[in-house]
Symmetry: C2
Amino acid sequence: MLYRLPDDGDTKLRAICTECHLVHYENPLNVVGTVPHFGQRVLLCKRNIEPRKGKWTLPAGFMELGESTSEGAARETSEEAGAHFKMGSLFTVMSVPRVGQVHLYFLAELENEQFEPGFETLEARMFSESEIPWDDLAFRTVQETLKYYFADKKSGNFGVHTLNID
Amino acid sequence: MLYRLPDDGDTKLRAICTECHLVHYENPLNVVGTVPHFGQRVLLCKRNIEPRKGKWTLPAGFMELGESTSEGAARETSEEAGAHFKMGSLFTVMSVPRVGQVHLYFLAELENEQFEPGFETLEARMFSESEIPWDDLAFRTVQETLKYYFADKKSGNFGVHTLNID
């Protein structure tokens, strides 16, 4: 791979394979997930994979081809927590340009508190606001989404929140 | 390029270069743009590039690394229309899984009606709702975003709209 200008009038350097000459376009990736909630509590998963192994996260992962943002968020929630839930509305849209990502979280109403965590998750359990391990959350976008969630829960008015994280 | 399972426990087929063995992850791309508005009218650009050359679109394009969704939308609006505007809030988030894309549009308040279209644009001009060339719009997401815009304009209440387009 070598960075050079493609021959098609593009104005940005692109990674181009020195063997097969394919242009490897690099664009931001979407991370999609949910805020699974039940009563006054939300579901967090303890990560069993790097980065941030051992830290707590909302279920989320990279959006794949062939799915919508909401379908991807639901898939990750099933894979990581084995949760049973009803998908709700879009809740946060956060850009993280430093790592080339956009994180989108949806609300998800849990149908019960039985979970079957996948291999990426050490433990899945419910937390009330006062129990949230704020200092042991895996990602800043998880922290911000949880803060918005408990604030909106108090006001009784759930909106869509956007944020840019430097 | 050959599609096979990577050696890292991944469960999806990935495109892997037969020469350099790099895994070429293919994920959905974000298209970011704006609804540039002034009084009762919105700005549309006539496309000078394929696909849909000659059709009308809201200014939009692929989000690049190093920028937020909002910054990408502003960049595309400058590049394609040479417009002067103040960025507003997130307005539509639409998944188009058939083409592996997520389209995000922001509101943008024009400061005047002077435009300097770039090479991708044949013509940039303002349209009231009744003047919109509905049958000559380039993309379904442009159509849906314009419909939401004029509906919210009437109600005086601008929300964030999400939609999955098959």
